[in-house]
């Protein structure tokens, strides 16, 4: 109880502090100018973070495409198509990926991925694409291991029922198992997204950090977190407050994303769990 309270109050204090430091400058600059202006010249008193907001969203979206595609694919494969013994080795080794420090991912990105993109796809190499790939790999363990748990939690009867009714293995997977495990998979995506939005070090190393809205996925980009980390060491006065305000924006964005994801999974859950899976099974009988 005490531990839970101290964790919650710690969170409350941090939140209050970020807002206390960040809100005055938003009020001073004006919310519209702060969020929708392209001009970030903090030493001249211009604080527009639109490029960073767009950057964060693009990089996160890219990372989720890669992370969810491969993570979920890997989870389905592990649960439904690979015999248990190899799974006992493969799953922990994927989870081990989560223990690698983010600088290491960033460094690998700079040394291997960035020159590859520069030489074969053009542009400076440091780009939305590079950041998305690095982040996509970083969220893989989260997405995979939680999805595996969700898929394993689907009752055997669902699979057996579906197979017994003559569905192929693939039909069983995508029409019954994936639907039944949906809320767990949504949780996996939310957690992965949280990591992708918040990751800083690896992104600073591979994203190029220009303060311009990228026109293509080969253009460099700066995210909200990179902006804070890059300039924090030097910032004073209004500039420092503007970085806290960047933090406030990030906070709000994460809240919105989480709320949407939660609402989506809850609405589905309320509409009688596993409806479509059940309907499918009933259809076949």
């Amino acid at each position: 109880m005490l531990a839970a309270l101290s964790a919650v109050s710690g969170l409350a204090i941090i939140t209050a502090f970020i807002f206390k430091e960040g809100l005055p400058i938003i009020a001073k600059v004006g919310l519209g100018d702060f969020i929708f202006s392209n001009d970030w010249y903090p030493t001249e008193g211009q604080f527009g973070i639109l490029p960073m907001i767009v950057g964060s969203l693009e990089v996160t979206a890219g990372a989720m495409v890669i992370g969810v595609l491969f993570g979920l694919g890997c989870a389905v494969l592990l649960v439904d198509f690979v015999p248990p013994r190899p799974v006992a080795v493969i799953k922990p080794s994927i989870e081990l990926l989560a223990g690698i420090p983010s600088v290491v991912y960033g460094f690998m990105g700079v040394v291997i991925l960035v020159p590859f993109i520069r030489d074969y796809l053009g542009g400076p190499g440091l780009s939305v694409l590079a950041a998305s790939i690095v982040l996509g790999i970083m969220v893989l363990p989260t997405v995979t291991s939680i999805s595996v748990d969700a898929l394993q939690a689907v009752p055997r009867a669902y699979r057996e029922g579906s197979i017994a009714l003559g569905a192929t293995e693939w039909q069983t997977t995508h029409m019954v198992v994936l639907k039944a495990a949906r809320s767990g998979i949504v949780a996996a995506v939310i957690l992965g997204m949280g990591r992708a939005v918040g990751e800083t070090m690896a992104v600073i190393m591979v994203a190029g950090n220009t303060i311009a809205v990228p026109h293509s996925i080969l253009d460099p980009v700066r995210t909200l977190t990179s902006n804070i980390a890059l300039e924090m060491g030097y910032a004073a006065g209004d500039h420092r407050q503007a970085l806290f305000a960047t933090g406030v924006t990030l906070f709000v964005i994460i809240m919105i994303l989480n709320t949407i994801a939660l609402a989506v999974s809850r609405r589905r859950a309320r509409r009688a769990p596993f409806t479509r899976a059940r309907l499918f099974v009933e259809d076949m009988t």
């Binding site: 392209n38 010249y41 903090p42 030493t43 490029p51 700079v110 960035v114 020159p115 520069r118 400076p124 190499g125 440091l126 600073i204 190393m205 190029g208 950090n209 220009t210 303060i211 311009a212 460099p220 700066r222 980390a229 890059l230 300039e231 060491g233 030097y234 910032a235 004073a236 500039h239």
Partner: protein
């Protein structure tokens, strides 16, 4: 469970001991600030501790502005600053020039370009020049690489080269001399600016306004892009801080600074 508590207790006791012993280790001088000065200050601190075993110098990075803040609120006896002080700051602090450093304009070793004028450099970083052919180089795009807002190196570059012209928003931004170096070393199209003392052999520093970026030219005052490395104190430095500053300004300290590719203060 009991052994866990035991381990925790041991950790706490060890921490306490190390604090007490650490505190007893002579007088500590904290030097905080510019990441450009940091590697040189660490080297000087090591040599200084070698000859004065009872004294201890703790060097930290964080950036020029952070160094000034630390000096202002007493967290550090010495702030390290790699740019000129602003008029306001000059009123608040005492500054001592410990060395001078050239600002090198660096390109990929395969780039045949000999030199650039300050006007060309300004136009490159303002985003007006897009191809190396426009400044007499090979046919490849120009990719300027700048430092983050607030960096001492960036402020020195803006003051000496850009003037009132803004650095293009499309310029790639890296957060340290090392990151700029890593990028330019690998990108045939890149051009960046960094501390002359840290260039090393893997990049090429081009002539600026026809003057080669050598220590000799910096000393002679011919090379146009020079900035001071400052030790900044709030009021009169403490005795221990003064002793370290004296060591840095001594012929021995200054010789070490020159050996590392910087230019002595005097």
């Amino acid at each position: 469970m009991k052994w866990l508590i035991g381990i925790a207790a041991i950790v706490v006791v060890l921490n306490g001991l190390s604090l007490i012993l650490g505190g007893g280790r002579g007088d500590a001088v904290n030097a905080v600030g510019s990441t450009s000065i940091q590697p040189f200050a660490e080297m000087l601190a090591q040599a200084y501790e070698g000859s004065h075993p009872d004294l201890y110098v703790n060097v930290q990075g964080g950036g020029s502005t952070a160094g000034l803040q630390a000096a202002a609120n007493g967290l550090a006896q010495i702030g390290m600053c790699s740019r000129d002080l602003t008029p306001d700051e000059t009123k608040e602090f005492r500054d001592i020039v410990i060395a001078r450093d050239g600002l090198a304009i660096v390109v990929h070793p395969s780039n045949p370009i000999e030199g650039l004028s300050r006007d060309q450099i300004r136009r490159i970083f303002a985003g007006e020049i897009h191809n190396w052919t426009e400044v007499g180089g090979p046919d490849r795009p120009v990719r300027p690489i700048t430092r983050e807002e607030g960096s001492g190196t960036r402020e020195a570059f803006v003051k000496k080269v850009m003037g009132k012209v803004r650095i293009a928003r499309e310029a790639l931004t890296q957060e340290s001399n090392g990151a700029v170096k890593e990028l330019v070393r690998n990108d045939p199209a890149g051009v960046g600016y960094m501390s002359l003392g840290l260039v090393g052999g893997e990049l090429r520093a081009v002539d600026v306004d026809g003057v080669a970026p050598t220590s000799a030219n910096v000393v002679a005052g011919k090379y146009p892009l020079v900035r001071p490395f400052l030790f900044v104190t709030k009021g009169k430095p403490s005795e221990t801080a003064q002793a370290f500053i004296d060591f840095v300004l001594s012929p021995e300290g200054q010789r070490m600074i020159e050996n590392e590719g910087l230019v002595a203060a005097k």
